[in-house]
Structures are given as structure tokens and as C-alpha cells.
């Protein structure tokens, strides 16, 4: 008579009892693995710190990128398109153009500066007031300052708006001085790529560190694992405490990383405040949001779990019981 041993169990529990027993067993193994970490404090603390510090670096760089983006966003929002009108444009035609541009959906605000106003401003600001008296006619064109709305203040969209505005009949030339902003954006994008590359490398190192720590823990318990296999433990039963250890490393490492980032942000924001005060800027350093902290925590847990999973898959199956 063939006996089916898969999932064979001798106990008489109902399905609810089996689920309860399974949950309790998972909890016991999870708490037990935390106890194992507690019993090896030096190794555990070192691993948690390595994990935490490894994650602190990309998280801090992410903060840098995030704040840089916030700054460029502010500058972009303040960007304006200057339209110089043809000298032959009449006052009436200019006013009509202003009204027409104000109706553009891409436009937030329009300010008209007539040729006379421009000359008056130039007289005051340039210091050539006396000299300008000798001019027979006003050389300055009327100007329209166009502020795009939030959506069209991005470099590409603002450029497209500029081209559209330059199509207007009375516009001689349009100007959008965003080259420096484009460069800054390119630098920010480069830094972001560097951050991603560093983050990937550090995450990989975290996986390897956790994997190695778990490997050593498995080798330390090689004899116990062999005995468990002899009395019928499945690989998944044996590997569970090690997987939970990886999760605990992730939880604690993620917490350390969040703490380090918060301390660093606090430390840097003081220095930054002094700097921005010099420029009368209102900029304040943004720290990690709750969602970002949660993401950092989940990343740390996922890395811990991945490192331990790779390790248990490789090493637990290799341990076989011996009769010696």
C-alpha cells in the first residue's frame, strides 16, 4: 500500500486549528530569531550599523536631489518670457496683443511696458539720464513680460510657448533665459543618476553583507540543522528563522538609516539657514517625508530578506544529516 507522505500530519487539528498553529509557529520563530540576534550582540549591532549606514548614503543623496529639484522648481516658476515688440507697433496694437496673450491658457500673467515706460526706467537705472536727453527718438521697443503658468514654466514647455508667442505679428523677438537652468537641470539629472548608481551598489553590498552574516549563522548551527532534518524538518521550516533574522536586520537597519538621515538633515539645515539668510532666501531643507521613511524601511527589509533568502537557499539544502 502506497502512503502519501506529502503534507502528511498525524495530529487531529481542524483547518482553523492548523492555521492558528502555523501563525503561532511563525510568531515563535520570528521572536526566536530576534532572540538569536540578541544572543550575538556584537555581530548583530555591527550588521545593523553597516546596513543602516549603507542606506544612509543614498537616502541623504536622495534628499540632496529632492532639495535641488525644489530649488530649481522655485526658479523655474519665477521664469518669464520677455517679448520685444517691433518699433512700428502702435500703442493700440500693443494693447490688443497684451489682451490676446492674456487669453492664452499657458499664461499666468502679462505685464505691458510701453516704450516710454521702458525709457523712463532706463534713465533712472542706467545712470545715462542726461545723455539720453539728446536722443531725438526713443530707441527702446515696447515690451511684454509673460509669466507662464506652473505647467508651462518647465524648460521645454516654456520654450514651446516662446516659439508660439514669437509667431505673433508685432513681436520682433522673444527671450527666455533658461540656459543656465537647463545646465542646472542637467547637473541635477547627472547627480540623480550617480545617486541611483551608488544606491544600487550599496544595496548590493547590503545584500551581500546580510547574506554573509546569515551564512555564518547557518554554519554555526550546522549540527542542529542536520538533526532537524533527521527528525523530519523541511527546508522551509529550517530556513524560516534565518529569513526572519534577515527581516529583523532590515527593520533595525532601516531605523538606523532613518535616524542618521534625520540627524544629518538637521545638522545641515542649520548651516544652510546661515547661507540662505545671506541671500535673503526663504529656502528650508526638506527632510524625508513619512512615505519616504516608510519606503526606506521597506527597502531595508526587502534587502535583508533578499540577502538571507539567497544565503538559506544556497546553504541549508547543502547541509545533510550524517549518522556520525
Amino acid at each position: 500500500m502506497q502512503t502519501n507522505y506529502s503534507r502528511q500530519s498525524h495530529h487531529q487539528l481542524g483547518w482553523t486549528g492548523r492555521i492558528t498553529a502555523r501563525v503561532i509557529r511563525h510568531l515563535q520563530q520570528a521572536i526566536g530569531s530576534l532572540g538569536d540576534l540578541w544572543r550575538t550582540p556584537f555581530t548583530s549591532v555591527m550588521t545593523v550599523l553597516v546596513l543602516g549606514i549603507s542606506l544612509t548614503l543614498p537616502a541623504t543623496l536622495h534628499l540632496f536631489v529632492k532639495n535641488t529639484e525644489a530649488v530649481t522648481q522655485q526658479w523655474q516658476s519665477a521664469s518669464e518670457i520677455t517679448l520685444f515688440l517691433k518699433l512700428s507697433t502702435s500703442e493700440q496694437a500693443a494693447q490688443n496683443l497684451v489682451q490676446r496673450i492674456a487669453l492664452y491658457p499657458e499664461v499666468e500673467n502679462v505685464v505691458y511696458i510701453s516704450a516710454q515706460q521702458a525709457l523712463a526706467e532706463f534713465k533712472v537705472n542706467s545712470g545715462f539720464g542726461q545723455a539720453l536727453e539728446y536722443l531725438t527718438q526713443n530707441p527702446l521697443p515696447a515690451t511684454i513680460l509673460v509669466t507662464p503658468n506652473q505647467r508651462f514654466s518647465q524648460t521645454q514647455a516654456a520654450h514651446e510657448l516662446l516659439l508660439k508667442l514669437e509667431q505673433e505679428r508685432n513681436v520682433e523677438q522673444g527671450k527666455l533665459d533658461l540656459e543656465w537652468l537647463t545646465r542646472l537641470e542637467a547637473m541635477a539629472a547627472l547627480i540623480e543618476d550617480v545617486v541611483i548608481a551608488i544606491a544600487v551598489l550599496l544595496c548590493l553590498s547590503v545584500v551581500l553583507i546580510i547574506g554573509n552574516t546569515i551564512r555564518l549563522a547557518i554554519l554555526n548551527q550546522k549540527d542542529a540543522i542536520a538533526v532537524m532534518k533527521l527528525v523530519g524538518a523541511t527546508d522551509s521550516f529550517i530556513q524560516r528563522p534565518f529569513l526572519y533574522a534577515g527581516v529583523w536586520y532590515g527593520v533595525l537597519g532601516g531605523f538606523v538609516a532613518s535616524l542618521c538621515v534625520a540627524i544629518l538633515a538637521n545638522y545641515l539645515s542649520g548651516a544652510l539657514r546661515q547661507l540662505t539668510d545671506l541671500y535673503q532666501s526663504q529656502f528650508t531643507l526638506a527632510g524625508l517625508s513619512l512615505a519616504e521613511m516608510l519606503l526606506l524601511q521597506l527597502t531595508a527589509i526587502a534587502l535583508g530578506l533578499l540577502g538571507s533568502y539567497i544565503s538559506v537557499r544556497q546553504h541549508i539544502r547543502a547541509i545533510e544529516p550524517t549518522a556520525d
Binding site: M1, Q2, T3, Y5, S6, R7, Q8, S9, H10, H11, L13, G17, R18, A21, R22, I24, R25, A224, A226, V227, M228, K229, L230, V231, G232, A233, T234, D235, F237, R317, E320, P321, T322, A323, D324
Partner: protein, 232 residues
Amino acid sequence: MIQFNNVSKTYPGGFLALKNVSFSIAPGEMAFLTGHSGAGKSTLLKLMSMMEKPSAGSIEINGTELATIQYQQIPYVRRGIGMIFQNHNLLLDRTVFDNVALPLIIEGYSHKETRKRVEAALDKVHLSSKLKCFPYMLSGGEQQRVGIARAIVNKPPILLADEPTGNLDPKLSLDIIRLFEEFNDMGVSVLIATHDLGLIARMKYRTLTLKQGHMITDGVVDGLKAGATDAN
């Protein structure tokens, strides 16, 4: 229950440990397995507990053909076999209770049922008072009895013992064998590997004798005589 059909085992390097060994142990039967060191006793037990795979032939345990099972099924087959070793194979950092409870925890028994069964198993081997002790606090005989309690706690239909009396004095050895007899009386098949010929002679059970990988005798024989024959 246990069925060996023309089983051979050759280790890497060409060492022939077993050659065409065939025998069967019926449900509720008790037998000894004997032979000199290197005769193939340990290899035979390793094959039964799936620590090794046969090079040829077939082995059936509790109705399962071992050659056909997959790696993932091995633990479930092992749960049907209680294994006892000369060196006890106890977990030194766990109490007697935890050691004995291990097979039940693995199988997912409830805490209440586990406690009940562990206490019953320890009572059977007269170690109820040592529940909270660690293995290093026990004598060799007591450690062996803990190993036996662990082997029988989930009531497997087969007990395999590899030199279970190897480090014990004759009085303790006899006590251990009496324990096996008690389990056998309850319907458990018992196979004891030993080279203690005096013990075999006293017990008068079926004895399988191995010599250089061959099964040379199989039957209820005078242990001393069989051993003497085997030794020559």
C-alpha cells in the same frame, strides 16, 4: 514496512558498501542488525533514513519507494521513522523538553498536544523529572533515553537505532533494549544495529548479519555463535 530488494551501494571511489542485500521487516517486528565495523550496517541505516541513495535495487519504507520520491518529500518520509544514534544527536542549547518536542513542533502540533505527548514520552523513558535540564546536565544513559523519547514522541511506525547501547554499561544497555521491546509490543517495527553480540544472544530476536556488504545470515540465531562465525 521495510523492504530491501537487491540493494547495492557503491561510494564514490569505488568502495562497495552493500552488495545485493534483500530483506524485509514486517510491521511490529523487532530485529537486530550486526556485523563488524565496515560490514555495511551504517550504510544500510543511512539508506533507510535517506542520508544516502542506493546505487542499485529498491528500498520501500512504510509503503513508499524511496527511489521515486523527490527531495521535498524526504522530510515527510523521515517523520515516519524514529532514529536513535550512539551519540544521541541532541541539540545541546535546548532543554530536554525542547529536544523531545522538536518532531512535534516540526509537524505543527498544538502547544497543548505537544506538552502532553512530550510528558508521556519522557515518562516512558523515566525522565519526567529532567524536563527542564539541558543535555550536558545528563548522564550518557539519560541522554540516550532523551534521544529515544524524541524518536518515539510522534509515534512513528518504525524505529531505527544505530549502536544505541554503544557507550552504556551492560545494565543500562539492557534497560534501553527493554524500552525498545515495550515500543515493539505497541506495534512499532524496531531495527537495532549493534555489534554487542552478548546483547543479541540474550534477546533471541531475528538477527541480520552483514559481512563486507553481503547479508550472510538472517534469522533467529544464537548471537554469540553468529558473531563468532561472522568474526572469522
